[in-house]
């Protein structure tokens, strides 16, 4: 993209500790039920 006004910073990796935390959350969600919780409208 040529215009710096609308050029975002380069992509970054998620910190490994954050990935680990989210993996734990995902494992809990997939093991606990068919998804669990109250779904929010996302699609």
């Amino acid at each position: 993209m040529s215009d710096p006004r609308i050029t975002p910073p380069p992509p970054e990796r998620m910190p490994p500790a954050s990935k680990d935390r989210i993996r734990v959350e995902l494992r809990a969600a997939t093991h606990s039920s068919q998804g669990g919780g109250t779904p929010t409208r996302t699609r």
């Binding site: 993209m1 040529s2 215009d3 006004r5 609308i6 050029t7 975002p8 910073p9 992509p11 970054e12 990796r13 998620m14 910190p15 954050s18 990935k19 935390r21 989210i22 993996r23 959350e25 995902l26 494992r27 969600a29 997939t30 093991h31 068919q34 998804g35 669990g36 919780g37 779904p39 929010t40 409208r41 996302t42 699609r43």
Partner: protein
Amino acid sequence: MRVDKETLVTQPHTEETDEALVEALHGGSGDALTTLFDRYADAVYTYCFRRTASWSTAEDASATVFLEIWRGRSKVITSGGSALPWLYGVANNVCRNATRSSHRWTRARSRLPLPQSEHDHADSVADRLDSERQMASVLAALAGLSQPEQDVLALVVWSALSYDAAATALGVPVGTVRSRLARARRRLVIAVDVPASSGPAQKDDHV
């Protein structure tokens, strides 16, 4: 393992395609969700940052995206063999909600004393603040665009999705993606280089 430098998508170790993973997801496989997370966490994290200008919000939003993928797993589809467009589509909605919440949080946080950063982390904290400022300035420049126009710009220009993939992400016809992008570009009144990989559908769409 190979990583795409633009999207930070981690290429799979195995022969397992996104289509196979999505099919497994439809059948309730938590392992499929974890594999999709390992493959696309960095791409979704970056996308969420670009929509919110906050790394911490992006982290929480990324977690929510994958939890929402699990909750709505029966509806997930691939586009061009990739699950990423669908993930970005969910991220659009999650980030919209997250941004509303973060405005409330930011107001509350502004009343608290500033935390003292550890010296060891000073550089990385400064880098993160710099990129957040840069991103906030980019989002401010786009403030004149409607939300749907910003969505298309983020998907096609920043994330290099094809028009077809962006249409899948947004749940709209391809023609709508084309017209929204054309409108966004006219409004910005600047030259935006749409990636050549966006496919033949855009060849006659330059404004």
